[in-house]
Structures are given as C-alpha cells and as structure tokens.
C-alpha cells in the first residue's frame, strides 16, 4: 500500500506509472478528490478510459479494487448485503432437531455475521487488509433513480444499516470513483457530493502517447496514421465516433496483422474495429475511407518535411 499523492504533479506521475496518460485537468480533479476525501464523478462518452482511472488507481496505490457494475433494477440485496437463506434454514432445522431452543437466542444466531453475504458497497465500508479500498461504481446511469437516492445516503455518511445487525460505518471512507456514460442525467444532489470531471477525447499528441504506453509493439509511422485517421473520424458526422479504447484495439489489431503502413484496403477491412454501427460503417466504407487516408498521409508527409 502506498500513500496518496501529495500534489498534482505526483498525481500525474502516479497515473503515468499505471500507463494512464492523463491531462492535467484530470490529475487536478483526482488529486482534489483524494486529498479532500470526496468521490470522483467521471462522465464521458463510451471508451474514453473512465473505468480505467479506478483500475490504475487501485493498482498504483496497491489498494483492493471493489467494483459495483450498475444495471437497471440493481437493489440492496445485490449491491449491499444479502442473508444466506439456505444456510439459515439448515441452521433452524438443526436447532429444531436438537429441541428446546430459545427463540431469541436462535434469532441472534441466525442473523449473525457468518450468514451475511457481503456485496460491493458493504465490502468497501469494512476495514480491509490492504488499506482503504478503491470503490468503483461503474455506469451509474444504468441504475434507476431509487438506487441513486440510496447511494446518496451511503456516499454522504459512508455507513449502511442492516436491521438485524445494526449500523456499519467505515472508519476511513473508501476512495470512490463513479462513472457515467450519460445515457441519462444523474441527479444534482448526488453530483454535488462529488468532484466532477468530463473525460474528453484526447488530442492527437496525447492519443499517440496513449498508444505508445498501451501498444508497445506499434511502429511510429503506423501510430501516427492510426491516430490521425481516428481524429478525422471523430470530426465526421457519425452516430458513434470511436473512443480511445477503439484506437487501442485497432492499433493492436493492425500490429497483430503485421501491418506496417495503412492502405485503403486494410482500413476498409478493419473498419469494424473502430465503428460499431452499420450505418456508420456504410457511410465511411470505400471512397470516404480512402479520402480520409489520403488526407492523413498528405498531412503526415508535410509534417515530416
């Protein structure tokens, strides 16, 4: 376990150690949320590396990562705790078979900690061996409003109440990272308790740095082309433009295919790695893709000269 960073520069350094190429704005927000013990709320399009922040943080700080994937209908029994009913039933049967059990004693025994199944939120509040854990609440926008309201309570006091056991409160609040794809607007009340950061698509320079860190085998020439094509595609009128994750996938795929330099055919054939909607692929395939590639090559050539 290592200590949280002491300054913004330290935060940047920490992230880059985890192969996360962050800009200074993200480092500032992350530093603040670590320093002041507030959750970090990151929003952005799919595939810009929101979830990765939490993973890298857990890895570099050597903390356990507890992940809560949200979905519609997520409720307390799968987010906080659940009793192990089957074992409780067996316990009751055994007690009855022995006979002469006091009901109050039995009650205490059945609702003891050994029958408690801990779900992510409860785990994050309990002291862990590896220090305060990193709690990742992923894609909160997929959960419904009632869960959001419940989360509000957990995030402001860092405690949950189990009627049979009492209140469990965290000695030290966990490091909380909340992500959202913004498929719906999260309520202001929840955001107010967090530091907010919008993760944007990186510029060309940073995207090349990301490729260098994430795809070790990639040649410089190919990396330049890949980034330039992706940046061009992001300017195009598409339903879903490629994210950083797609760039990394594409560069990895091309390296695996032993492509040294992009040509229109390869671009056409691998377009499915970048674009995930049939309309978008249709729009880009063929002449449009070739035009983009020609433009990119032109630019790269002038940049070299």
């Amino acid at each position: 376990m290592s200590k949280p960073p002491a300054s913004i520069e330290d935060t940047l350094e920490l992230l880059s150690r985890g192969k996360y190429v962050a800009d200074r704005s993200l480092a500032t927000t992350l530093f603040l949320s670590l320093k002041l013990g507030r959750p970090l709320f990151v929003e952005g399009e799919a595939g810009v590396g929101k979830t990765e922040i939490a993973k890298v943080l857990a890895e570099t700080l050597q903390r356990p990562l507890i992940r809560l994937q949200c979905y519609e209908g997520l409720d307390i029994s799968s987010a906080v705790y659940e009793w192990d009913y089957a074992r409780q039933m067996v316990e009751i049967r055994l007690a009855e078979a022995q006979g002469g059990v006091d009901r109050n004693v039995l009650g205490d025994e059945i609702f003891a900690e050994k029958f408690l199944i801990r779900r992510p939120l409860l785990k994050a509040l309990e002291p862990a061996a590896g220090g305060v854990p990193v709690l990742l609440i992923d894609e909160l926008d997929r959960a419904d409003e009632p869960f959001e309201a419940f989360l509000l309570e957990v995030l402001s006091d860092f405690q949950v109440t189990i009627p049979e056991l009492g209140t469990i409160k965290a000695d030290k609040p966990p490091i909380v990272i909340i992500t959202s794809n913004r498929t719906r607007e999260i309520h202001d009340a929840l955001k107010r308790r967090c530091f907010y950061h919008w993760v944007d698509y990186p510029d060309a320079e940073r995207e090349r740095a990301i490729l260098a860190a994430k795809v070790p085998g990639v040649r410089e020439r190919l990396s330049n082309q890949v980034v330039a094509v992706v940046q061009e595609l992001r300017r195009a009128d598409l339903f879903k433009v490629p994210g950083v994750a797609e760039t990394i996938d594409w560069a990895t795929a091309l390296t695996e295919l032993n492509v040294l330099e992009l040509d229109p055919d390869t671009l056409n054939n691998t377009l499915g790695v970048l674009l995930k909607y049939q309309d978008d692929i249709q729009k880009m395939q063929g002449s449009e893709a070739a035009a983009i590639l020609a433009r990119v090559n032109n630019e790269l050539a002038t940049a070299v000269n």
Binding site: W83, M89, R182
Partner: protein
C-alpha cells in the same frame, strides 16, 4: 509559498472566489454557499501556483454537468482575466482584481459578463438567421417559410371555444401500460417466494415458517413527446402545449421537445406547476414559432444528442407533426428509422388525418409512415381520449389502421 500566508491577500482571494461563485449563480449555475466553502478548501489543497490548476480546481467544484463547461470557461476567463494572475498572484493581481469589483462597477461587470456569455447560448443559431425585425414582420404577413425569431404571442392564438377544451386537456390523465421492472414488491398472490421477508417473520412467530411472497414491480415507461411547432401546425400548438404540460406534471420521466427549424428541449420549462408560467417560459426558449419545418435536421439532432439520454428503459415516443417538410423530406427516412429502432413504441399523431380525403402524398409523410408503430389523428378531444386508451393497452398486435395506411403506401408507390 502558501496563498494564505498573508492575511489580507487571503481575505481578497476568499472574497474573489465568493464573488466569482455569485457571478456564476447569476448566470444560472446552481451554486450554494456549501459549494463556495468547498471551493475554498479545494483551492487551499491544490494551491494557486499555476493558472490551469486554479482553473481545474474551481472547475471540479463548480461544474457538474457537461453543458455548464462553456459557461464556466467564459466566466472564468472574463472574471480572472488579468494576465498578471499568472505571475504574481498575491502581490500584484489580487488587489487589482478586487478593485474592479467595487460596488459601482459591479453592474457594468455583470453586463459585460452577460455579453461575454451570449455567444455560448447562441452558438447553435446561424448568424444569417438573425435578421432585422422589419423583415420578420414582412415574413409573417407573406407566410414565408423563413424562420421567425420573433416570439409568438400566445394571447393572439387563444379562442373562446378553445378554453373549454384546454381545461379538459389539463384534467386529462394518461395511463401507459406498465412493463415489468427487475425489482420486486411483496405481494400475497405473488408467484415468487420472498426469502428475506419469510425468515424475518419466522423469527417473530413460532411454529412453521410461513412463506411470504413477492411479485415483479411494474413501472410506467419514459414518455418522449416530439412536437412540431411550425407554421402549418400553429392552430394546434397551444392545445398540444397544454397536453404536454398535463403529461409532465402527472408523472415522472416525461421529456418534451419542440421542433420547427431547430430542436428545443422544453422539459424543464414545462415542469412548472402553473400552466401559464410554464408556457411562457417555454415560449421564451423557443425561437422558431410558426416558421418552417426541417423535420430531418431536427430528428437528426434529436437522435444524435438526446436519443441515448432519454430513450432508455423502453421509452414510448409520441411524435406530433403534420409531416409537411420544407426541405423536401431530406434525411427524414433515415432518421425515422434510427428513431424507431431506439424506442419501444413510436406513435405518430397527425392533425391532417382528420380530413376524410387524406392521402399520404407529401414526401415527408411518405418518409415517416413506414417507420411508426401507430398512426393516429389528433385534432379534437376525442382523438386524445382514444390515444390515452391505446396507450393503456400493452402493444400486443399491430395497430390495424396504421397497417392499412402502410399497406396503402406501397400500393401508391
């Protein structure tokens, strides 16, 4: 060196941040005193050695929605515009910055900020649309399809006989068939066993464990209304606004959009309980009353920026338009297909359907019709009641009338 070393400087920085927060509040960002304290703590933690750090520190505290970024950005640069902030934060800049906010200068400052903020709000509009007023008046008279930036006056549209109908609409309740969710509620007749509840009860009562039951909880789906407010629809617009207002205040997860030549989200405005206030606020927002229609472009904007945010969880879409398009139905077909694929049920309400001789001849109508689940008239209270009835039924089979229209479309073609 800490910012807060010198007491006087500290006071000024605190004042300035507080004043900055007030400025942001004035331009409509929800910032309470708690945030100001939070901002001070954050600035203390991050330091003010670098301008960009200072920027992102305040950003982290004050901004919590993406659309506030631009507002914040402009406000920040106007407010902390003195370049010397970069170099000598303490000794040189703060006194100067403070001086600029002397009481008598404050008003001027806010106006300048308002001006500076103006482009951010207007950036969707195109410069050439902003014509001088006399041309706009001319446009009204000649029924030109030019976009009218002039605000439409509701009072002129009102008719005595309409009032009774509006009262009826305000009372109207829409029961939409509720699809099952993944949550449960306790229910004696439920088909599933509620273990949590059963064991809890078993401890209270001796003897056999009485099984408690649960069933799936149902919830009305989100409702999205897309309403055409172009010139050809203007006779109905007022009624539909009342209809939308009644919907929004009756239930949660309703989103309302108006479109003519551009798309406006009026959900927040219509949420106002008072109907007159709500309509007034909505009309302030919308700039293209009774202008032309660009259905394709508006649907494109909706699909691109809103569909993913409001069409989740099995949304039902009500599209109110006559399908008459200024731009020869360009792009409508493609966007309708996308819209249809993104929602669970798409209902097209068309006031033109009241005419018995109606035939799907216009290009816009022919482009929309194949991609709707239901095609209904909407011109009187009766048709609205029929709509309410239809919505309360889960969509089991295809709407027969609609199927007939769609089949007829193929014959003509």
């Amino acid at each position: 060196m800490s910012v807060f070393e010198a007491n006087e400087a500290e006071g000024r920085l605190v004042d300035n941040i507080a004043h900055f927060a007030r400025t942001l509040r004035r331009v409509g960002m929800p910032i309470g005193p708690g945030r100001v304290i939070e901002a001070l703590r954050a600035v203390e933690a991050a330091g003010v050695r670098r301008r960009d750090d200072f920027y992102w520190t305040l950003h982290a505290v004050f901004v919590n929605r993406r659309d506030q970024r631009e507002l914040f950005d402009q406000a920040f640069h106007v407010f902390w515009r003195n370049p010397r902030l970069l170099e000598k934060m303490l000794s040189m800049l703060l006194p100067t910055a403070a001086e600029e906010f002397e009481p008598e200068k404050r008003k001027e400052m806010s106006r300048r900020l308002a001006e500076a903020l103006q482009p951010a709000n207007d950036k969707h509009g195109k410069g050439e649309d902003q014509e001088p007023p006399e041309i706009e008046i001319e446009a009204t008279l000649t029924f030109s399809d030019r976009e009218l930036l002039q605000k439409r006056d509701f009072e002129q549209m009102s008719q005595a006989e309409a009032d009774e109908a509006i009262r009826a609409i305000d009372r109207m309740r829409l029961e939409v068939a509720e699809p099952p969710t993944r949550r449960f509620k306790s229910d004696r007749q439920g088909r599933r066993i509620d273990m949590r509840n059963s064991l809890r009860r078993a401890l209270r009562n001796p003897g056999l464990i009485g099984l408690q039951r649960k069933s799936v909880r149902r919830r009305p789906p989100p409702l999205v209304v897309l309403c055409d407010i172009s010139g050809s629809m203007s006779r109905y617009t007022r009624m539909f606004l009342h209809f939308m207002h009644a919907l929004i205040n009756d239930r949660d997860r309703v989103h309302c959009f108006l479109f003519g030549t551009r798309l406006s989200n009026v959900t927040r405005q219509l949420r106002n309980r008072d109907v007159d206030m709500a309509l007034e606020k909505a009309s302030e927002l919308v700039e293209d009353w009774s202008g032309g229609t660009r259905i394709g472009a508006c649907l494109h904007e909706f699909n691109r920026f809103w569909a993913r945010r409001v069409l989740g969880q099995g949304a039902v879409v009500l599209m109110i338009t006559d399908g008459l398009d200024r731009e020869r139905a360009e792009g409508i077909e493609r966007e309708m297909e996308r819209l249809h694929k993104s929602c669970s049920r798409l209902i097209w309400l068309n006031p033109l359907l009241r005419y018995s001789g109606f035939a799907p001849k216009s290009q816009g109508i022919r482009a929309i019709l194949p991609h709707v689940d239901e095609f209904r008239p909407v011109h009187n209270l009766e048709s609205l009641t029929a709509l309410a009835q239809s919505l309360s039924q889960p969509q089991a089979t295809a709407h027969r009338e609609t199927a007939r229209w769609q089949a007829g479309l193929k014959e003509v073609a």
